[in-house]
Amino acid sequence: MRTYLNRHLQVLFAAIGTFARTPFASLATILIIAITLVLPSILYITLKSGQQIAEGWQGRPQISIFIDTELGAQEAKLIFAELSLHPAIETAEFLTPQQALEEFTALSGMSYELDFLGENPLPASIVAMPDQENSESDSLQALKTELEKIEGIESIRLDLEWTDKFNSLLNTAERTTYLLFALLSAALFLIVGNTIKLLIMNRRDEIEVTKLVGGSNAFVRRPFLYYGFLFGVCGGVCALVLLYFSAIYISPALENLATLYQKETLVYQLNWHELLCIVAFGGALGWIAARLSVARHLRHIKPR
């Protein structure tokens, strides 16, 4: 067992040595692997961040009811009273045009521009929340059509529509992410496989002589598997560094999105599990790619 371990360590160090001897070629391969891993990972992080934002709404849809601007404050209050008593509505909150403007200003930071308009363009509105039974998409739609018939109501917006849209967008993004993962993994296979092939060709003499003095196939194969593994692991670690900087770059945009939806969500933080996964994925892919490449190319090298 000890000699077995020793042997593997020796080969591992030798592999690291070869890396050091050809730093630029190795670095180039590692960087390509890193970039290949980073692309889908960024999508994944964006996806997760989006899901975090979406999560908050689920189960409690909001109905925004906008009152006809022609209507006076008294009449608007009457509609509010009517809605508050509606059996399907659990809570309702009245927003005067002034309150609506204040909220909008606070959210968008556009107070100066609005001042120029002189007059408040916003209607009075009611934010209502349906009870549990009426929170499903279908019954909400029914409720919406029912309420739209009430005179004095200009329009009704279901926040669920946005949730649905956003969710289907996230779904698309999720599928795209997985597809990209699959496609780029295939690319990674080719990259590592080709690098290993070049290494094998470069060391043709060494392989031949090693076989001549009794080196087994497993012995000859081993360093190349380590190269593949090391390439993958180093690529994975590089990918993490790139991801860190990518996250810093994306973060402001996502924060903006989050505030728009009244949430304090930041960029999704990959947990150590997922971080490890990226590195392990790189390593495993490198190993398997090397194995396939070695199986294809080592066969053709026979001592003469």
């Binding site: 042997r7 076989k211 009794g214 087994s216 026979k302």
Partner: protein, 227 residues
């Protein structure tokens, strides 16, 4: 130890390098393989080390019949045979130490033991202190001796040497062949291909003569008569 039974070898290009060759070497025997250039000496060595497969005939080395030899068993066979190659087959981007150590590295020997053995082997061929040198910085004769050190490093049962003294002067040739004779004295079976008739006479060992792929002389023994 080594038995060839009606062995022929026709290369892929149709060239017949060996034709119906039969001979036997007992364990612990030492012999010279004689023949002009192109007679098939190197081909014979390649067959014994399973680098090439015979076109017909049977080969047995150390009790193992090559008919039944699986590819996975070839490494173990080669570990048992030390070979000095005609073209040295050294790794020119590795140090002398690494070159000589290779047969021990492939069997996973510990580093300390490898160090000890390499030092001893290099001492024996007169290359002490050249461990860290690259082979390109050595003369042809010195390179040949690196190949010899590598061949004997794993204490093989069988030693094959393909013109091991081709690049050496007389006194060095004597020394090297004495090393082979020493190995033979402790029981190693030794077969040396050579043009150097002076050595053949000096050591007075059995000869096997090849000419155009056929055995034409020497004290060969038919395998059938042996058993």
């Amino acid at each position: 130890m080594i038995t060839l039974d009606h062995v022929s070898k026709i290369y892929q290009n149709g060239h017949q390098a060996l034709n119906d060759v039969s001979f036997n070497m007992a364990a612990g025997e030492m012999a010279f393989l004689l023949g002009h250039s192109g007679a098939g000496k190197s081909t014979l060595f390649k067959l014994i080390t399973a680098i090439e497969k015979p076109t017909s005939g049977r080969i047995t080395v150390d009790g193992k019949s090559f008919d039944k030899l699986r590819d996975s068993q070839i490494p173990a066979l080669r570990q048992e045979i030390g070979v000095v190659f005609q073209d040295h087959k050294l790794l020119y981007d590795r140090t002398v130490f690494d070159n000589v150590a290779l047969p021990l590295i492939v069997i996973g020997m510990s580093h300390d033991e490898i160090k000890k053995r390499v030092r001893a082997a290099l001492g024996k061929v007169g290359l002490s202190g050249k461990e860290k040198v690259l082979p390109v910085a050595l003369s042809g004769g010195e390179q040949q001796r690196v190949g010899i050190a590598r061949a004997v490093i794993n204490r093989p049962n069988i030693l094959l040497a393909d013109e091991p003294t081709g690049n050496l002067d007389e006194s060095l040739s004597d020394e090297i062949l004495d090393i082979f004779a020493d190995f033979n004295r402790v029981g190693v079976t030794v077969l040396i291909a050579t043009h150097d008739l002076r050595q053949v006479e000096r050591l007075n060992k059995r000869t096997i003569e090849l000419s155009q792929g056929e055995i034409t002389g020497g004290e060969t023994i038919e395998p059938t008569k042996l058993s």
